[in-house]
Symmetry: C2
Subunit: 330 residues, 2 copies
DNA sequence: TTGTATGCGTTATCAA
DNA sequence: TTGATAACGCATACAA
């Protein structure tokens, strides 16, 4: 690997001049500059980022922290959009996998911090608040991509708007008996948000709410399928808004085995745009995360923080409208 | 951020001594060492990797290059295993997304190279041979995770073994009329490998080969579904080995709509363990990539290259036996 | 057992 | 328009 020194030696000039020529800062005689550029090319010169960062104290490196085993099919589109924006602005993005959060989070944080990143982006994980506290202590800008209940700066989806647009879609299609398939007594924050959005919409629309209760949050698919197999065909809704895609899919399979047709008899919309919904029969309409927007906007916010812009009155966090992905189940 | 200098100043000693104490190399009086460690902790000292790398000319950084829009659900398990092995050995792994390969590959390579990585790992992309050539020129160790036809060092799946184990499974279950659902005149290397593996196994087993031809490689699902809808029920096979999961799924849907039962009437196995096959009805048996092994072993090989071990007689590349993932379609 | 001095490749100050 | 020189934080040869 060649360095400025090598180029200086060959061109019979000084390191400083080579630096000036290569970085286009300061005056260099035209002919000399051309020669320096040529030699640099011949030597296949590439700047040493280590040295540059050490000297300037700016790494232009963003660590993107992601817990292992995440739903990559859902997260990576966000990462791609985030990285694209960052690269446009001259930053490199490095994905850091968080493995054993319980036992080695603080060691992992050291590894992240000792690279002197310019900023940190995070996906949600269990001890994220610990990490955020540390980042604040270090005065290191951060942003979280996607959901988390904690009081931290995040760019996520506006779930209420998602529910509303789905319900409106049902109404536009003339459906009246619109049910909510999900937990009727949600413990988690986002479960409550969804249920409340449903209830308040139904109230405003003067429609009677109907809840198909899924008691737990685990194994949605099988529970929903059982519900589909047992629910009375007489009181069947004509529109179903499901808590998740897997619940929707299970419910659909359960009823299909009894001869109910989707979407002719029942129109159904899931939540979260899982891959399974793409290839189900019929393909499932779903409320999808606005992945690109989340990626791009979280990058913009992180850049604003890095550049030292002051926090907006409304705070850094943003809730973006979701995408209603209409396929063939509605 | 504090440095060795800061610690030296506080403890009234020299940078050299602090370095010795922190890195456990050389003699430091026990009491002094304890004090230094304490001060380091108080200051929340973290080594500056930029400076360390600059000095030692070793970055312990692996760039993992991945084309954008890849099948992350399939690739990330490989990445996780790769990263785990690398981290055990003290290396950091950074994911580099390749966006516009046609136009900006050489610029991207510069970005990768100017970080002075210790090694490079690659997923397959269209101009991978260009990149590999450059890496060889720079004397930078690399390994490729997964398939590629090019003559480059890779760790992939032994497709022939996969086909064989699937066909053996059919035989064990007493199936005799085993068909291959795929292109009968494959243009691509791996298409040929699969077809030939099927044909030679059938020959050896003295079974009559039967090919359900999918003429193109695109839109497998719909073409296979059409085949399923039109194929004569009289000459139906009792076992089907499909070129891909989506072909298997399409074929299954086409025949299910005509009342054929899986796996009672036909046993079917796909290829590549797509997410769709997990939630199909019935869930699809499939030949899966040995992701963990590919990740771990490619890390081991790259480490061997980095450490300057000499190439084995058989070359660096490896073909690993696949995993026959038995679900409910067989 | 500890300290001094040098260099890695870059940028930046200041003088020529 | 150009060039010494210092400094970033660390590792190491060598001296004490």
């Amino acid at each position: 690997m060649s360095s400025l020194k090598d180029i200086a030696a060959i061109t019979g000039t000084s390191v400083r001049t080579v630096s000036r020529a290569l970085n286009d800062n300061g005056y260099v005689k035209a002919a000399l500059k051309i020669e320096i550029l040529k030699v640099a090319k011949d030597l296949d010169y590439r700047i040493n980022l280590m040295a540059q960062s050490l000297r300037t104290k700016k790494s232009f490196l963003i660590e993107l922290v992601c817990p292992i085993g995440a739903d990559y099919a859902r997260n990576m589109p966000k990462v791609e959009a985030f990285e694209e924006k960052m690269r446009e602005e001259g930053y490199r993005v490095s994905l850091f996998l968080l493995r054993d959060i319980e036992n080695s989070l603080s060691k992992d944080m050291d590894v992240i911090l000792c690279q002197n990143p310019s900023g940190i982006a995070l996906f949600h994980f269990s001890k994220i608040d610990l990490m955020v506290k540390k980042l604040n202590d270090c005065n290191l800008p951060y942003i979280t991509l996607g959901h988390t209940e904690k009081k931290i700066d995040k760019v996520g989806m506006d779930r209420k708007k998602g529910i509303q647009s789905a319900l409106k879609h049902f109404q536009d299609k003339g459906r009246k008996r619109i049910a909510y398939l999900g937990n009727e007594k949600p413990k988690h924050y986002y479960g409550k948000v969804r249920l409340n959005a449903y209830l308040s919409y139904m109230k405003k629309a003067k429609l009677k709410p109907l809840i198909l209760n899924i008691p737990t949050t685990k194994d949605n698919f099988n529970i929903a399928r059982t519900i589909g197999k047992k629910v009375s065909l007489k009181t069947l809704p004509d529109g179903v808004l499901a808590y998740s895609d897997s619940a929707a899919l299970g419910f659909m399979q359960g009823l299909q085995s009894r001869g109910v047709k989707f979407p002719e008899d029942i129109s159904i919309i899931g939540f979260n745009a899982s891959q399974a919904g793409e290839v189900s029969n019929p393909p499932l309409s779903t409320i999808a995360h606005p992945n690109e927007a989340i990626g791009t906007i979280s990058a913009e916010i992180l850049l604003a923080k890095i550049k030292g812009q002051k926090e907006p009155k409304a705070g850094w966090s943003r809730e973006l409208p979701p995408v209603l992905l209409l396929r063939e189940s509605t």
